[in-house]
């Protein structure tokens, strides 16, 4: 009996305590200013399937935020606390009810005991679906030559769940990189491992194939992959990469290749198809990508420079050459789509949209490793008209790059350092029929400020995935520890 009474009293006290902690706005002062929130979700356009846009006040002196969300087509939500933490199910219901319309946020925030009601802002709910289940990416510190813990992960975009595909605790001290799926299909992907148990792992529905990390004839590893839509071929580059470090402000690292070549790998015959057109002496070829119909191979190329003296003269042009999937051969003529002689800039990471309309790339002042170039911006090439335009709607004063498309080519993601200039985060945007992108929004997190302040990782090479990737880290680790590797051979194609 005494115990029961004690329990009741304690429960009551706890309820009162919780109620006291949930401060409601009183004596609210109105202002016409928009709230400065983190992340900045004001005016963004989001897909129906997205996780809640939890946010907090940018000014940390605001200790409590009270948010009402109303859909223009009905429905409402409320959140109150140190940050707006919306119920996931309620959020999805609200978005579904307002697809193609807008939801309106009313934000009240408390600072030093005073409540302020800010001007309402809207978020558009796109009528274009984002059919992909989630995204994959690597998380790694923005380090120099040494690397600590890293891993390949996937994230469900409808909530905040992240799971590891493979971490380098499973293969201690190794570098995991270049995880690339075939057009968001998780049944076919490739990734690279560097270290004592190094390999290139090709995953298909039939299973995993662990290729020898380096091909001796090639003299290097298989990196920067991009799948042919047919699934038999995968384009790679092979690079002799080095780094040098700046002493000047806002630049830390310059990554360059003393040599690099592009080739196509035949997964059925384990043959590296070496073509002199994409492996030219005195030139560096890099970052290949296939067109969505598989008939073209895009790549970037630059005349090799002397490093370090001429590091800023290495500027890549965007080129393409035809590809015949029946024979595995490249064409005989290379077209230049964006010429550095015209632009005096450098192109990198060509990524054609899967509907064949656009090709998105990153433009920098020089070089190709854009993540360390604050001036790196996203550009869009209209493949029908040949016109290029800078995507001012999504760019910032910091590096934007490593972009990829959703399967319906309405959405794209990219990495940006706009937050703090160093730690790369994933942003999303959509493309309208006019080719204009919507204001980008940051990948939602349950506690956005807490996550941002505590995470010492950058997001790297993100991509959409249509379904969860089925990966067994234990088996992957065992396969990598097994010394058996499939040898690759080379075949020369002369012009």
């Amino acid at each position: 009996m005494r115990g029961a009474i004690r329990d009741m009293v304690l429960s009551g006290l706890l309820t009162l305590l919780l109620a006291a902690c949930t401060l409601r706005p009183v004596n609210v002062q109105q202002t016409d200013r928009l709230p400065e929130i983190f992340p900045d979700y004001i005016g963004v356009t989001i897909p129906v399937e997205l996780a809640p846009l939890n946010f907090c006040m940018g000014d940390e002196d605001y200790t409590t935020i009270d948010v009402e969300v109303k859909g223009k087509q009905g429905g409402s939500l409320h959140a109150n606390g140190p940050y707006a933490d919306f119920d996931i199910d309620d959020w999805h219901q609200l978005l579904k009810a307002n697809a193609g319309s807008q939801i309106v946020f009313s934000v009240c925030a408390e600072k030093d005991g005073h409540w302020t009601q800010f001007r309402d802002f809207t978020v558009a709910v796109s009528r274009y679906p984002l059919d992909e289940w989630g995204i994959t990416y690597r998380r790694i510190a923005p380090s120099y030559t040494m690397y600590s813990h890293m891993g390949l992960y996937q994230r469900d975009l409808s909530n905040f769940d992240e799971t590891a595909l493979l971490e380098n605790t499973q293969v201690t001290g190794h570098c995991l990189n270049c995880h690339t799926a075939n057009r968001t299909n998780p049944d076919q992907y490739v990734y690279h491992v560097r270290g004592k148990h190094g390999a290139t792992v090709v995953h298909r529905q039939s299973g995993d194939e662990v290729l020898k990390a380096r091909n001796d004839s090639l003299g290097g590893s298989l990196v920067y992959p991009y799948w042919h839509p047919g699934g038999r071929y995968c384009a790679f580059s092979t690079n002799k990469t080095a780094q040098m470090f700046h002493t000047v402000k806002n630049k830390r690292i310059e990554v360059y290749d003393s040599s690099s070549d592009v080739f196509v790998y035949d997964t059925e015959t384990h043959t590296i198809l070496c073509d002199t057109l994409t492996m030219r002496k005195d030139w560096v070829e890099n970052t290949p990508a296939f067109s969505p119909d598989g008939q073209w191979l895009y790549f970037i190329t630059a005349r090799r420079q002397v490093f370090p003296a001429d590091y800023d003269r290495e500027k890549y042009s965007l080129c393409r050459v035809s590809f015949d999937a029946a024979t595995g051969r490249l064409g005989t003529q290379v077209d230049t789509l964006v010429n550095t002689r015209t632009t005096d800039k450098s192109v990198t990471w060509p990524r054609p949209s899967y509907d064949g309309h656009y090709l998105m790339y990153t433009q920098t002042n020089h070089g190709y490793f854009s993540v360390w170039h604050p001036e790196a911006d996203l550009w869009l090439l209209d493949l029908k008209t040949g016109e290029t335009c800078c995507m001012d709607e999504v760019n910032s004063a910091q590096a934007e790059s490593l972009h990829n498309w959703s399967a319906n080519s309405r959405w794209f993601l990219f990495t940006s350092r706009r937050g703090d200039g160093l730690y790369t985060r994933v942003y999303f945007s959509s493309i309208g029929n006019d080719g204009k992108a919507t204001k980008p929004f940051l990948l939602p997190q349950q506690d956005p400020r807490g996550y941002d302040r505590s995470s010492l990782y950058s997001f790297n090479t993100p991509d959409f995935t249509s379904r969860p990737v089925s990966a067994d880290a234990y088996e992957s680790g065992r396969r990598l520890e097994n010394p058996h590797r499939t040898e690759t051979k080379t075949r020369e194609m002369l012009h």
């Binding site: 380090s143 120099y144 030559t145 690397y147 891993g151 002493t247 000047v248 806002n250 160093l422």
Partner: protein, 404 residues
């Protein structure tokens, strides 16, 4: 006479106390540089996420407690005291357990009780051995002693999986407990417990992102990537340069010329401070910027040196490399302090705030971090700071020179 009789009667406690004093003096006076360096290789955070991250892996509680104690190594006397306490506790608990297992008091067993503690003390002289290991041993001893004598086997069947998850494969020591009763079933019981522990390890390999080999050895008992922390020579020179004891550095170099490049450069800095060499000779420190990074300690030492020379980006880089090079993927409070400083000098205040927020969740860096928060929130004051102001000026006037 009365005190002599008291000492004789309590001779075991006296020997234990003497052992504790010996361990304290060993670490505090003979290897103080290693005490400091251990703390440099971790960043213990006082938050729930840090705890949950640790206990999500077998041996996690031992690692968490080891790092909890490790944060105290920030002050040499605290670290030495903690090590003495830890090893002495292990010795005494070993003695209690031996007494219980043997059933009769024997002087010879008392001497044997020092063996685990002495071995662990010797192992800890290797930076690749983590504090997790002695903490795990301590926890297992406590578990063994906490067990009731009756219904022992049933308790062990429950305890072994729990102990494995909390402290790692050192839980194996529990399977020896049935031998205290020296009955015919002891072998069978122990064999059964070994099988149980084996099954636990195999199952855990499917649950956590560590290879089986690592789980057998203990995830954090010893460094998965050995020889990255630094040599005794590097740690000694690092300790001296942190104290700015330039005289001691130069004297040490005269006794035995340092092998490590980072130590050689530290000697140059010491000689320059003693006006034995000029600016031109000191510039030798700026060469071989990659080869000098032979270990985490070397990188930390060079970070200090580059900052003193006014090379902010180089100092920043080496501090980052030191932190990323830590074998068990820990972060480093010392490195992070340097990254705060360099981020503030280079105007990356948002980055500095990230690191400051983390350091504010530590015991010894909190106060400093709170001061730095003031600078990060008001970066206009940096130019007036006696240290960072001049560094900012130097950095702003730097000509871009590549280093490798």
């Amino acid at each position: 006479m009365k005190s002599k009789a008291s000492i004789w009667h309590h001779w075991q406690a006296t020997v234990t106390v003497l052992f504790a004093v010996g361990v304290f003096c060993f670490w505090g006076f003979l290897r103080p540089w290693q005490v400091l360096e251990r703390e440099s290789m971790q960043l213990f955070l006082w938050n729930t996420d840090y705890f949950l991250d640790r206990i999500a892996v077998p041996g996690g509680l031992a690692r968490y407690l080891g790092e909890f104690l490790g944060q105290l190594f920030y002050v040499i006397k605290y670290g030495s005291f903690v090590t003495a306490l830890l090893l002495t506790a292990i010795q005494w608990l070993t003695w209690l357990l031996l007494r219980r297992m043997v059933g009769r008091w024997k002087n010879g067993l008392f001497g044997l009780s020092f063996l685990p503690a002495i071995v662990l003390c010797w192992l800890l002289c290797d930076m690749d051995v983590q504090l997790t290991l002695p903490v795990a041993v301590l926890l297992v001893l406590l578990m063994a002693l906490a067990l009731p004598r009756k219904v022992r086997l049933l308790c062990l069947i429950v305890l072994v999986p729990v102990a494995y998850w909390l402290v790692g494969p050192v839980a194996f020591l529990l399977v020896l407990l049935p031998f205290d009763r020296l009955h015919g079933r002891a072998v069978a019981e122990s064999a059964g417990l070994v099988l149980l522990l084996t099954v636990c390890v195999l199952i855990s390999a499917r649950m956590v992102a560590y290879p089986l080999e690592r789980l057998w050895q203990g995830v954090d008992y010893w460094a998965a990537q050995p020889d990255k922390a630094g040599t005794d020579e590097e740690m000694t020179y690092d300790y001296l340069q942190r104290l700015r004891d330039w005289d001691a550095i130069v004297e040490a170099s005269y006794k035995e010329a340092p092998q490590s490049l980072s130590c050689q450069y530290t000697v140059l800095m010491a000689k320059w401070n003693r006006k034995q060499i000029g600016d031109e000779e000191l510039k030798q420190c700026l060469s071989n910027t990659n080869q000098v990074l032979t270990s985490c300690t070397a990188a930390l030492m060079m970070s200090d040196l580059y900052l003193r020379l006014g090379f902010i980006n180089m100092s920043q880089r080496t501090a980052f490399e030191a932190m990323e090079g830590i074998s068990n993927y820990n972060k480093s409070g010392r490195s992070m302090m340097r990254l705060v400083e360099t981020a503030l000098v280079t105007g990356q205040t948002a980055v500095a705030l990230k690191y400051i927020t983390l350091l504010e969740q530590t015991l010894f860096y909190r106060g400093w971090a709170q001061q730095m928060r003031g600078l990060a929130l008001h970066p206009e004051h940096i130019v007036n700071h006696p240290v960072y102001g001049p560094l900012r000026q130097i950095w702003e006037q730097s000509v871009d020179v590549f280093f490798y």
